[in-house]
Subunit: 283 residues, 2 copies
């Protein structure tokens, strides 16, 4: 049994862009403050929702530095650092730790498919060894429908065995209720297990999860926070209904469009290709 470091409702923030599709740090900082006001316990910078892989290593470093320079607390940040190359992952991870953000959320290398468990273990091991810092707090990022690579219990076990306390948590965005519950049951007392959607939050909390990291926290964090604080059946139903509104559309452009409407700022509509923006503010 380990004391949990990360609990509650975390938002994988959208990354607002200017007309040149460069990160808009002014809009981003305002959004992060708003999210905390809305009840988020913290923010994941550069998850899938933040279009992480559409940015270069240098761009990702500069955004983290900008957010911290604007006064946002590193204690409220987890930084996505997983790239295809171990060199890029280690570089971003070292930078995050040096910036006061030891919690990193790490995709497996996501180009090759049909990767073996041993290959995934080797890849993560190489990155952690290259980081070479005991302050590291490593969170697995399980999202096989995009990465093409699963994070199995055997992978998690092997890395706990090898690296001990730096292995801190797991974000499960697989959307597969059965395997999520199995991972919560197995690792909930040892790791911070966070589910990738509020849709499963009540049940996941019962199985050992400590919270969620959900894209739709960008638009309706209070509903998710209410569910986390008091996980009743009614709160779950309300959260699931709110989530449903985003299931049919491409979620990142839709969340940016909703934010553009809320803030009355068209700048929020911009996405980086290969995503395609929702073209108008509309209704």
């Amino acid at each position: 049994m380990t004391a949990h470091v990360t609990t509650g409702v975390w938002c994988p923030t959208l990354t607002p862009l200017d007309n040149a599709l460069d990160p808009d740090l002014r809009l981003l900082s305002a959004h992060l403050c708003w999210l905390v006001d809305q009840g988020c316990h913290g923010i994941v910078l550069f998850g899938t929702t933040g279009e992480a892989n559409s940015f270069t290593v240098d761009e990702r470093r500069r955004v983290l530095e900008g957010v911290l320079a604007a006064g946002f607390s590193p204690d409220r940040l987890i930084v996505g650092t997983g790239c295809c190359s171990a060199g890029d992952t280690a570089s971003l991870t070292k930078h995050a730790i040096a910036s006061g953000c030891p919690r990193v959320l790490v995709l497996p290398p996501f180009y090759y498919k049909g990767v073996s468990e041993q290959g995934t273990i080797d890849a993560y091991s190489r990155e952690i060894e290259a980081t070479a810092d005991d302050r590291l707090r490593f969170y697995f990022y399980r999202i096989p429908q995009l990465s093409g690579v699963d994070i199995t219990a055997a992978v998690v076990d092997a890395l706990i065995e090898r690296f001990g306390p730096v292995i801190s948590g797991l974000k499960d965005s697989s959307g597969d209720r059965e395997s999520i519950e199995a991972l919560c049951n197995r690792f909930g007392s040892r790791l911070d297990v966070l589910v990738g959607t509020e849709r499963f939050l009540k049940r996941a909390l019962e199985c050992g999860a400590v919270g969620c990291i959900s894209a739709t926290a960008n638009v309706h964090a209070p509903i998710i926070r209410a569910l986390f604080d008091d996980p009743t059946e009614a709160a779950q139903e309300r959260a699931t209904l709110a989530r449903d509104a985003y299931e049919s559309a491409p979620v990142i452009p839709a969340l940016k469009a909703a934010t553009a409407r809320r803030t009355n700022d068209d700048g929020w509509l911009h996405v980086r290709p290969p995503l395609v923006a929702v073209q108008t503010l509309g209704g």
Copy 2:
């Protein structure tokens, strides 16, 4: 009708690694010379077989510089430059052109799945605009089973329409005979269409392809060259049979192991995770 720039048998070279899993430029240069001696018309540096996405942008630049410094002709090179972020792709593409290698083979951004044709067009357009160099010779890299993103005729048409002569070719590694033949028929007179396997070479040549870029050219280029020079049914059968030997195993470790046996050099066994090396030289 355009004069074809790239024809024949091209080898997407393996990238040999040293004990620290850094590129071994000595082994690589020797391998490239051997491949040309074996009948390859040219080399693709940093395709899928070359573990391209397991290297950082800086590593990829240094390998190209090392190959050229060792005296290999840039006229015999196509450079893989497609990354998830437009900034990385443009950076590698500019570097290749400045190094005398205007032919680049470009994956679409490969993290997001279910990407629209418009998103793929937008992503490629942004990269070509950022490169901003008329010397560019751009080759699409179609390998949806790994990238998760298809290159359709509509995508190719849109980019030809927009960028004209810089759009030079297409490597089709989809393994899907029907769509390969359709693309050969449609674009064979306008683009250099190269198939990703000798398995389809005879038929593809009949449909308008100008050659192939095949991983197994790393081990049996003469068989593929014989098929290209005289595409008889017997030559196709011989090439298909040779290819079959590599269809059941993870192909990159198997090709490296075969090269280790041929050169009697264990160094060739190294792969970067998430690939897993074949552990012994064996038989």
